[in-house]
């Protein structure tokens, strides 16, 4: 099964016939290279495609899939390539199917509060257009200016607003999709309720491009909240900061849209990276809390009460950012942490663990211990409000490369073990892809994985679409 045929010049000719010359990249190494990786740093996860195709519609995709099945060639679908699990990497070569040309917002249906978009639309652009109509789409991945909505659906992206609004899946009402065998099917629709048959829309969300290629996405819209306020709260230690998170969630009148955590080390790196400086007043940990709503007075009351609670339970200072300038300033810090870490050490691995929120304090203490024992640096930041902590395991500048690989593996295993013990899991929003594939067995029982394999084969009997992601088909036999 794993033996795929090579893409021959005849096949390229056929693809060019289907899509036009300019929409097929072949033999141009510089151009192909772009499609060989996503945003996972480590080169070991990259792989060159044999050919890149850029279809313009479902019919063309259907033809590509039929050709691929006929010729036994793997197809890897690709959005913006901003993923963090290697999901869009063509690990067996073959065809990359890039959705970059399918970038139209097809319809904004204000009466039904839905929009219909193509998969290659930059998620941020949807919200820019919707804002003019006082509407918004609540999915908010952090790579706002680059990621595509199609990738968001494929990965069930989470991001900054999940505490209040949940993750991408909550807003996907329907899909037009090309199956791995090339059929064009419609799932769901502009309907709030639908219990006819299995919920394939939910199955597709987060399927990491292994079960189908989305060609139209129907997203649910919400009225745009008129006011947004952020609190940036300084704490003398991580425990006090994190212990506040469950309290804020359970005790405050208003559910925050986001509760983000940053340790001092991450913040100092981002200060340097952005040429930014806000007095930390001796803080070791920061929380960034966001509230939104329509009534300005209620908002003021809500942030005042959360702020007071924080100050009364050990916070050093509470900064308030309620203008476009100040809000962007605090979020820019949070968003740029991954890039800032990159400037500290290029050799790193970004993890995406998630635990029940009450376990976050314990987890962070354990992570620090594990880092010290394994001689690596770990920067922790992320979505404290939903238990999804991003920990960047970073090679200490000056340590040996050989030791690093060993240390990384050991660190990762130990963190995953601790996470599992707490009822957590190894990815909250980045996905498994092929980067975390080998840890699936540590976190999921074999009967469940076997069921997933059968689902995959039901959709894709020849294992053509994005093979080698999440789990391997071969091991089933």
């Amino acid at each position: 099964m794993s033996e795929y045929n090579q893409v021959t010049s005849e096949i390229v000719k056929e693809l060019r016939g289907l899509l036009g010359n300019r929409n097929v990249i072949y033999e141009d190494k510089a151009k192909l290279e772009t499609y060989s990786h996503d945003e996972v740093d480590d080169e070991e996860y990259a792989h060159m495609p044999e050919v890149v195709t850029k279809p313009a519609n479902a019919k063309e995709i259907s033809k590509i899939m039929k050709l691929a099945n006929r010729e036994n060639i793997a197809v890897t679908p690709r959005g913006a390539g901003s993923g963090l699990s290697g999901g869009a990497v063509p690990i067996t070569g073959g065809i990359v199917l890039s959705l970059e040309r399918m970038d139209k917002i097809l319809e904004i249906d204000e009466d039904n509060l839905v929009a219909v978009v193509e998969p290659g639309v930059i998620t941020n652009n949807i919200n820019e257009l919707l804002a003019e109509k006082d509407l918004f789409y609540a999915g908010y991945p952090m790579s706002v200016e680059s990621c595509f909505i199609g990738g968001n659906v494929a990965e069930n992206a989470g991001g900054g607003r999940a505490v209040k609004y949940g993750v991408t899946g909550r807003y996907i009402l329907g899909l037009e999709m090309v199956t791995p065998e090339g059929d064009i099917i419609q799932l769901g629709g502009k309907r709030v309720k639908d219990v006819v048959g299995y919920d394939f829309v939910k199955l597709m969300v987060g399927s990491e491009g292994t079960l189908g290629i989305f060609t139209k996405i129907i997203i649910k819209l919400l009225p745009l909240p008129r006011h947004t306020v952020n609190l940036l709260i300084l704490y003398k230690d991580i425990e006090t900061a994190i212990n506040m998170v469950p309290r804020i969630l359970t005790k405050s009148d208003k559910t925050p849209t986001a509760i983000e955590f940053m340790d001092k080390e991450s913040v100092l790196l981002v200060y340097k990276y952005l040429n930014e400086h806000l007095p930390l007043k001796g803080a070791e940990a920061l929380l960034l809390i966001e509230l939104d709503g329509n009534d300005e007075e209620l908002m003021e009351k809500a942030y005042q009460s959360i702020g007071d609670v924080c100050l009364n339970s050990g916070a050093i200072e509470v900064y308030v950012a309620d203008s476009a300038t100040t809000r962007e300033r605090v979020w820019k810090m949070r968003r740029n942490i991954p890039e800032a870490i990159q400037t500290y050490s290029e050799i790193k691995s970004s993890e995406d663990i998630v635990v029940p929120i009450a376990n976050i304090p314990d987890l962070l203490v354990k992570i620090r211990k594990i880092a010290a024992q394994n001689n690596v640096d770990i920067f922790c930041f992320g979505h404290a409000g939903d238990g999804n902590i991003h920990s960047s395991i970073v090679k200490k500048p000056g340590t040996e490369q050989a030791n690093w690989e060993e240390n990384l593996e050991k660190t990762r295993r130990e963190i995953f073990q601790e996470t599992a013990k707490m009822g957590g899991t190894i990815s909250g929003e980045h996905g498994i892809g092929h980067k975390r594939k080998k840890y699936m067995k540590d976190i999921m029982d074999s009967a469940t994985i076997e069921l997933m394999r059968r689902v995959k084969l039901a959709f894709d009997p020849n294992n053509i679409l994005n093979p080698g992601k999440i789990f391997d088909i071969e091991e089933a036999k």
Binding site: A131, L232, E300, Y303, E317, Y319, D322, S323, T325
Partner: protein, 265 residues
Amino acid sequence: MKLIVPIKQVPETSNVKMDPETGTMVRSGVEQIINPLDLYAIEAAIRLKEKFGGEIITLTMGPPSADKALREAIAMGCDRGILLSHKDFAGADTWSTSYVLAKAIEKIGDYDVIFCGERATDGDTGQVGPGIASWLKIPFLTYVSGIDQTNQETMTVERNVEAGYQILKIQKPCLFTVVKEINFPRLPTLKGKKKARDIEIPTWTPQNIDVDPENLGLNGSPTRVVKISKPKVSREGEKLMPESDQEIEDSVGKLIEYFEKLEII
């Protein structure tokens, strides 16, 4: 020390849209914020006060809703605010605006230093700061990037110029327009926000200050906007993508020819 910070409320322009018909900005639904460059002036004043004590008064001329900008400045650390708001002020250009602000500052009186932002992000003229100083007949420095010394009579400051820095001594009272390099503006604190919510901000009209009605608003402004047009950006270019050795050689030849024509080489 008595420090004065005139500020301006401007539309948030990071995502600005232009009306293709009129050539003006689409203002509906656009958030109003403190001119981002004024934040550096506010911070400079707060730091000076932290060092030497005193009082910071912030003022703005604008519609009643501009009171929000003053409250934000107070939340950051200014002590009180004054709103200059009246229909007769409306439509003022930089000449008339600086006239009214200067008259208001004269009424406040007894000030040591006035801090202004370098320019406003909407009008982008950079004229109001120097205008105020001219009306008040006090010395001023633009593009101030650092404050070295503050004495009873004088101040020594760094000024950003094209080739580097100037270090200049200036007689007080004086006015500075400051650049971004001068500091990192602080964020308002929860305590500051509360103070700003509760404080009373007086509104001054032409009746409150000693102004000549002839100099106010659109009628008092010598500037006339005759037409707003969008500059056309036109670029011409040629892309050379040589692959073979011969093509590379030809391309280099073409580049040399091009540079010679432009007298670059």
